[in-house]
């Protein structure tokens, strides 16, 4: 029930936004988040964005994964 899906913000209209999820477009509510811009990625749950995805943190986790993989396969 706590499924949340990463979606790209395409258009913002006050407290509503159009987002793209795997090619499909959907209208969602923005009432629970601040400072969202077109192009941001948000996590969508039950018709609302529940936060903005931190792209820098995502990159850092991926770097950590690469380091772990290098340690094992080296």
């Amino acid at each position: 029930m706590c499924l949340g899906i990463p979606a790209k913000v395409i258009k913002i209209d006050d407290h509503l936004a159009i987002v793209e999820i795997g090619g499909a477009r959907k209208e969602i509510g923005l009432l629970l988040v601040d400072d969202i811009s077109v192009g941001d990625y948000v996590i969508v749950h039950a018709g609302y964005a529940i936060n903005k995805i931190n792209e820098k943190e995502a990159e850092e986790t991926i770097s950590l994964l690469r380091r772990l993989a290098d340690e094992v396969y080296r």
């Binding site: 029930m1 706590c2 499924l3 949340g4 990463p6 790209k8 999820i21 795997g22 509510g29 009432l31 629970l32 988040v33 601040d34 990625y41 996590i43 749950h45 039950a46 018709g47 609302y48 529940i50 936060n51 995805i53 931190n54 792209e55 943190e57 995502a58 850092e60 986790t61 991926i62 950590l64 994964l65 690469r66 772990l68 993989a69 340690e71 094992v72 396969y73």
Partner: protein, 363 residues
């Protein structure tokens, strides 16, 4: 898809599994609290990749599974009111109450019960049907409750007088406390729910390390996320360094989403709640605050259903608390199957019994 595919790379998964095998010494018991994690773990076969010393057990983390019979009876009583359109998330349709399920009542009595994906859809139905009264079955943990709170807030702003909710929402930290107080469980660490934590933040779990000296890692939902979280937990446990860490850093912060939680605490306040199979956990439920009381469907319609004792002979209660595995219940796979579920753990796709039935012991 971006932010998903990267966390499904088999090369990363294999490397972490190797690392886990390398550092694992002690016998440890870890619980994944969230039902969405349970499904991801079974679906990706993670249990079968771990050393025998690491035991994963599934917790109570599915709001559908822990909704007591009395609340289902209230939902049916509401759906039976004149001119009511009852709206609900799909999962709740098949949960048995003492009078049967919403799905069966819809079929047998022709009640107007509609499945919605979002509480916003229920609000739209209310706007489009001013001559009817629309009630929404408000179930969920902190991931979902702010979205429902925002919808109630919106209805209040719009002065909508034909929209109501049946609140059965619950909060996760009091349930984790109750599990930690169940001594016979002997848990060493928790894989904490990712999306609940987006809202409440990692600080909400400090008590796990500080008071109970147990480890906690907040995990994302892809297989690599979960494996990395298990690795972080084993590292903490082997180094005797119980802390609260975040693996799911791309979405979770220590403080959580303060704006969303502000809306949630404006609309709801804590109350004691009955968890199906577990019993009453103090301050683990939510009811509407005075300001939003007029949206309470039970009060508006004067619904009064008798409290019922759950007499089904299934072991969902012990399974929800991690005391038993699904095959230890004598109904599992025989009388109780996903097509014909007896207990709530088999009803919900995210219930431990359903996941175990569909994917097998090791996924």
């Amino acid at each position: 898809m971006r932010f998903i595919d990267e966390f499904r790379e088999s090369e990363y998964a294999k490397a972490i599994v190797d690392k886990i095998h390398y550092i694992s010494r002690k016998n440890v018991k870890l619980m994944e609290v969230c039902g969405t994690h349970t499904v991801a773990i079974f679906k990706s076969g993670i249990r079968g990749l771990l050393p025998a010393a690491i035991k994963l057990i599934s917790g109570p983390g599915c709001p559908v599974c822990v909704t007591p019979m009395t609340d289902i009876d209230k939902a049916i009583a509401l759906a039976r009111q004149k001119d009511v359109i009852f709206t609900t998330f799909g999962d709740m349709m098949r949960v048995p109450g003492s009078l049967g399920t919403l799905q069966k009542k819809k079929a047998d009595e022709g009640l107007d019960i509609r499945i919605v994906y979002s509480p916003l859809d229920a609000l739209k139905i209310a706007r489009d049907n001013k001559d009817k009264k629309v009630a929404f079955f408000s179930a969920g943990f902190e991931t979902t409750t702010p979205a429902i709170a925002a919808t109630v807030f919106q209805a209040h702003m719009d002065g909508l007088s034909n929209f109501f909710i049946l609140p059965v929402n619950k909060t996760v930290p009091p349930a984790i406390k109750a599990l930690l107080d169940t001594a016979e469980l002997g848990l060493d660490g928790f894989i904490c729910p990712g999306h609940v934590s987006v809202l409440i933040g990692s600080n909400a779990y400090k008590f796990i390390a500080e008071k109970y000296k147990r480890s906690a890692v907040i995990s994302g939902f892809e297989p690599v996320d979960i494996l990395l979280s298990i690795y972080m937990l084993i590292k903490q446990i082997e180094e005797k360094d119980a802390r609260v860490e975040i693996e799911y850093k791309r979405a979770v912060t220590p403080e959580g989403n303060k704006k969303a939680m502000g809306i949630m605490w404006d609309v709801f306040e804590p109350c004691d709640a009955d968890w199906r199979g577990i019993g009453v956990i103090p301050e683990s439920g939510l009811r509407l605050t005075k300001k939003y009381e007029m949206f309470d469907a039970v009060k508006h319609f004067g619904i009064n259903v008798p409290a019922v004792e759950d007499k089904t002979s299934c072991n969902c209660g012990d399974i929800l608390r991690g005391l038993k595995e699904p095959p230890e219940c004598r109904l599992f796979g025989k009388v109780c199957t996903p097509e014909n579920p007896v207990g709530p753990c088999m009803v919900s796709e995210e219930g431990s019994c359903s996941a175990y039935y569909r994917f097998g012991a090791n996924g």
